[in-house]
Structure formats: structure tokens, C-alpha cells
Symmetry: C2
Subunit: 342 residues, 2 copies
DNA sequence: GTGAAAGCGCTAACAG
DNA sequence: CTGTTAGCGCTTTCAC
């Protein structure tokens, strides 16, 4: 015997399948008389009836499923940032009755997006968590494809393009500025910035923010003081060695663009037997969870990753359920976490 | 215009929807003549046709979706163990063309399972990751409900019940035994076991394993040397203080049942200013990832969590795709990780 | 070879 | 108030 369906109940109760559907879905309906209603309910229970969500979704044109898309080579669940964002997403989803469909990377890199858009018919909308693997151009193209296919979506993290989309991120310019002011206030004049990739929009924002902070102070942030590590530890070490080669001219403070870079910097400090903040002040930008686990505790600007997930999911659901939804770009405030390294 | 469907293509091509379906699905079919086939393909591309997975799933009775069920109060993605298992699961899924549906906890604790079984119609099967919140009785009941509903599933972690199910875990008895032998070999005679909850099957297995190892040696593991902490740090401290109260009678080595307990023990060692291994040898059981991040590096038996996820997902997919699948209980071997604490 | 018809399980609109 | 009808978009038989 396969699972009982509406028509099975209907047969036994001597009514039409439609009647059963109404009784089961609209709890207190008056469409069906009390006697029949109770009979139907009773039989449904006897048979252990459960809906076929698939059939229901087909006709209702909604699944209450949200798709997750994360361009990342490594397993996404290992990534602290993603884990936090996912937790925030989950929090929203469970309160609003949605579930999350995690797409497995298809392997074929190029066709991934298109294929997954295809698959997305399973979902009412898509959540993109951008990573540093996302080139602005690709993101932009994805956006156009999604819009063309009329697929609702929201993006989290590092999108600075021109298209107006539902986006939740953090104000990196403001972080850069705050970092600049913080270091100025501590009396630093020779400041460096450890960055990932040159073309990463986040890094651009941070640099611009810092320069803005410095603008009235006479302090500068020359290109030579911006280190591009490409997220390679050896490269990071090279950059740092260059900066620290001359005792006289070395920076007194380094601002670090993200968790992984911070890790490299900590490795370096340990390897070269430096002390922070005495030899070098360290100011970081990163995930609260990650940062609070480090020893010594870095002074840092924490990104509200959990909240980003929460808000993004909420925006997406709003846009799904409310047709007159207007797209918004939301920049969440960062949080200053005092530590021992500045 | 809503998304183009089979019949749209059919109309334009002057054929029936069925023909289009055949062409699109069975790549090299001979059912349809070459000319028509190419026409259909061309029109499909022009229209930007994409399948409606939902409709397809309804008729094919399979979604290529696997559901994930994790009974855990906190956000599951924060949990190292789960994250690792998920990564393993993902790895299998992406190579076999499945996707993962993460159910959001419904809030209502009691009805959760039933509701989720209902929802599971979306999926071809369910993956359960048991946590220490899972009482054996509940697990057992879940199993019966699933079987009754003819839902395929696999369980990961801490199931020691009688029902024959697809299960992937780690051989805790063997770990306990190996732990016992390891400590004996190091000359310890006074050994304690720091455990979570008394009724946790895992802990039972570990204790039995240790006792088996000790059986010919004269060393004992009395109840007084088993500390139940209920995963509370204060309780752990109480237990440890009791053990360490008398200088003469204190244990020389402690075996720790899992990551969280190990954390408590490390806290304790730091708080009481002890040194390991000189004051106290520490032997742990836990996740490779977590353990390798600790300083000092604990000597430990690592649980192959990633692999557990991988294998479990593979088993589940096998059982879905192969009707004559036979249920198996798989116990994965642990891995010894030498460290600095024994 | 080809196309038409039936049906997956459900719901909303429509007559009675 | 009640029940019947017509689809949702797709696939697979089955006749032609």
C-alpha cells in the first residue's frame, strides 16, 4: 500500500476529494457540514493521512523552501562566516515556517549558476552568500540572469555594484574610517593595511574609509603600506617582512581586513617573536565568534554575521510574500570589540 | 509571461508536449525524427525553457532531495561536529546529484518529529544526526514511526538500540578499550573518566571498553572515578575538585568523553594551575578538527566525523536507488592522534 | 516513428 | 451550503 491520499479518504467518507481538501486545510470551514467534517477528520486520522507537499506545492506555486547558494571551493560548513550567517538564516526561517535547501556544488564550474537557477524551481527564492571568490562581474551577471528569470533573491556580503537589489552587508567604508580614527587616537602615524586581493570591493571600501579618516591628520596610507596577500600565508609573510625590514621605517600599527589575514598576521607575530601591541599594534575586522576565540584577544571591529543572515532571510521572505516589496540595500552597523592588541 | 513550459514549445514546434518531453529527457532518442528533434531543441533554447522540477518530481516520485534532521537546541551550524558531518554529507551528495534540505526546527518540541516526517514528502530520504539530546527511547520511537511511514533514513552517531537500521557511528567500546590500554601502557594505575550524562549510551560503551582493557591488569574503574558533569562547567569543576582534593589519592590520568568535556577539563587545568601531563595526564575522544586546534595538543582518539557524513549519505542514497538494499550498522574506525598530554 | 490520453495528488473556481 | 470540474506541468503508456 502506498501512502493514503485525499481520494482514499473521500471514497471512504463518500464525498469528493475536494471536500476533504477543504476540511483538512481550512480548519473551521462552513463549506462542509459538521457531521461530514468530523467523519472526514476521523477517517484521515485512521488512515494516517499526510499531505503530499509536492502536489500541493505544484498547484500552489510555492514550496516554502529557500535555496542557498554559496560560491566556495571548500566545504561551506567549515567556514565560520558562513556558519554564522546560516544560523541567522535558520533563525528567521524557523520562525516564519520556511526550510532551507542547500544546493550542492555541481562540479562544473561554469554552468553552475544556470543549472542552479534551473533547480531553483524547487524554491520560492534564493539566498546568495558572496565570498571572496565572487568577482564583481560575475555577481552582476548572476543578478541579471536572476532578474530575467524573475527569481526572487537576496545577497549577503560584499556586493557593491550598481544594480538595486535586496542586499545585506556591512558598511566597510565606515569600518575603515573607524579603524583609521582608532589608530590615530592611539597616536599611530605609520599605519599599514593588510589586505586580501587588490580588486576585492571590500578592501577598496576599507582603504577609502581609512584614507578619509586620515585626511585631516597628515597621516597617509600610501600604496606601499597596503599589502596584498592573495590569502596566501607565504605571501603575507613576504609583505610583512618587507614592512618590517627596516627598524626605523616599519609601521607601528596594522589594520587587517579579515579573519584569515588576521590568522596569517598572528602566525607572523609568533614566528618573528614580536609582541603586540608593543612591537606592533593590531586592529582587525572579522567575525565576532572567530575573534573572541583568539589569544591574545585582538582589538577588532566585529561583523554582525548572524544578524546579516537573519535580516537577509527576512527580506527575502518579505519579497516573496509581499508583491509590492521594494528592494533595499541594508548596511548593518559593525561592533567595536576592545582587545589587547592596540 | 510566466515561465515557458513544455506545451509552449510543443505549440511552436507543431508537436505534442509528450514529444518535447522525450526529446529533452532522452538525449539520443529515436522516438522523434532528427528534424523535429533539432527544431524542438532550438525552440527550447530560444524560449529559455527550464524544467519545472516540481511537476517532474510529482510524477517521478522522487526529488533527489535528502532531508536533514538534527535535534539540537542551539543553531546546528555552530556545532563543530555537525559542521564536519554536514561537509561529509555534502561531499557525497554533490557527487551523486542530490541536494540537502535542512529542516528548520518547528519550535513545538513534541510534534516536531511527526510534522517533519510529514514534510519529508519533499525528500527521498532523511538523515538523522543524533546528538546527546536524543534519548534512546525517543530515537527508538522515531525509528518505528519512520518505518511505519516507509520513509528511508539513515542515522549518524550514538545509536545503540536493537532495531536494525542503516547507521553510521564510531566504535566507542573500542575507543574506550584503546584508551584503557594506552593509559595502562603509560603506567597509570589511578585512572578517572570524565563523562557527560550517565545514561548516554556512548558513555556506557566507553566505560565498558575501558573496563575490558583493565580487566587483566588489576586496575579498576570504580563508580567514584566516573564523573558525570551533565555538560555543566561548574559541575565538572566540582567533580574534578573532589578527585583532586587529596594529594595522595588523586587520579594520575583522566580520559575525557567528548569535546565539550575536554574544554571544561582544560579550563580546570588552567584555573587550578596544573600542568599536563606532569600533574595530570589527559586523554581525549573527540573531533579531529577541534582537537587539533587546542593548545597544548591533547593526546586523543579522533572521531572520523567527516567520513561518517560521507558514508551515511552514501548508504542512504544506495537504499533509495537500490530496492534490494540491506540495512547495515557501520562502525567506523577511530584514529589515534598523539599529543602532548599523556 | 508519432501523437493522444491518462494520471501523479492536490486545490480553486465553478455550478448546483 | 455542497459537490463536481478543471487544471498545476510533467512523463509514460498506449494505440495509430
Amino acid at each position: 500500500m502506498s501512502a493514503p491520499k485525499l481520494s482514499d479518504i473521500a471514497k471512504r467518507a463518500g464525498v469528493s476529494a475536494a471536500a476533504v481538501s477543504i476540511v483538512l486545510n481550512h480548519n473551521e470551514t462552513k463549506r462542509v457540514g459538521l457531521a461530514k467534517r468530523q467523519l472526514i477528520l476521523k477517517i484521515a486520522k485512521e488512515l494516517g493521512y499526510t499531505q503530499n507537499v509536492l502536489a500541493k506545492a505544484l498547484v500552489e506555486r510555492r514550496t516554502r523552501l529557500l535555496g542557498l547558494m554559496v560560491p566556495l571551493r571548500d566545504p561551506i560548513f567549515f567556514n565560520q562566516f558562513i556558519a554564522q550567517a546560516l544560523s541567522g538564516i535558520q533563525s528567521t526561517l524557523s520562525s516564519r515556517g520556511y526550510n532551507l535547501l542547500v544546493y550542492s556544488p555541481s562540479g562544473r564550474p561554469g554552468r553552475a549558476t544556470r543549472d542552479q537557477i534551473l533547480e531553483s524551481k524547487f524554491t520560492d527564492g534564493l539566498i546568495f552568500i558572496n565570498t571572496r571568490l565572487c568577482a564583481p562581474r560575475e555577481i552582476s551577471q548572476t543578478i541579471h540572469e536572476l532578474d530575467e528569470a524573475k527569481i526572487k533573491f537576496v545577497m549577503i556580503n560584499s556586493y557593491y555594484g550598481r544594480e538595486l537589489i535586496d542586499y545585506v552587508g556591512v558598511d566597510d567604508f565606515a569600518i575603515g574610517e573607524a579603524a583609521g580614527f582608532h589608530l590615530l587616537a592611539r597616536g599611530h602615524k605609520s599605519i599599514a593595511f593588510l589586505s586580501g586581493s587588490q580588486h576585492l570591493p571590500t578592501n577598496l571600501q576599507l582603504v577609502q574609509g581609512m584614507r578619509r579618516a586620515f585626511s585631516d591628520s597628515g597621516v597617509e596610507l600610501p600604496e606601499s603600506r597596503i599589502g596584498y596577500t592573495e590569502y596566501q600565508q607565504p605571501t603575507a609573510f613576504m609583505v610583512l617582512d618587507r614592512w618590517f625590514a627596516s627598524k626605523r621605517d616599519r609601521p607601528t600599527a596594522v589594520f587587517v581586513g579579515d579573519d584569515q589575514l588576521l590568522n596569517h598576521l598572528y602566525d607572523y607575530v609568533e614566528a618573528r617573536n614580536l609582541k603586540s601591541p608593543s612591537d606592533i599594534a593590531i586592529l582587525a575586522r572579522g567575525n565576532a565568534g572567530f575573534i573572541s576565540m583568539l589569544r591574545p584577544q585582538p582589538t577588532a571591529f566585529a561583523i554582525p554575521t548572524f544578524q546579516m543572515g537573519e535580516v537577509a532571510a527576512a527580506r527575502l521572505i518579505d519579497s516573496i510574500e509581499n508583491p509590492s516589496h521594494r528592494r533595499t540595500r541594508i548596511l548593518l552597523p559593525f561592533q567595536f570589540m576592545p582587545g589587547q592588541t592596540t
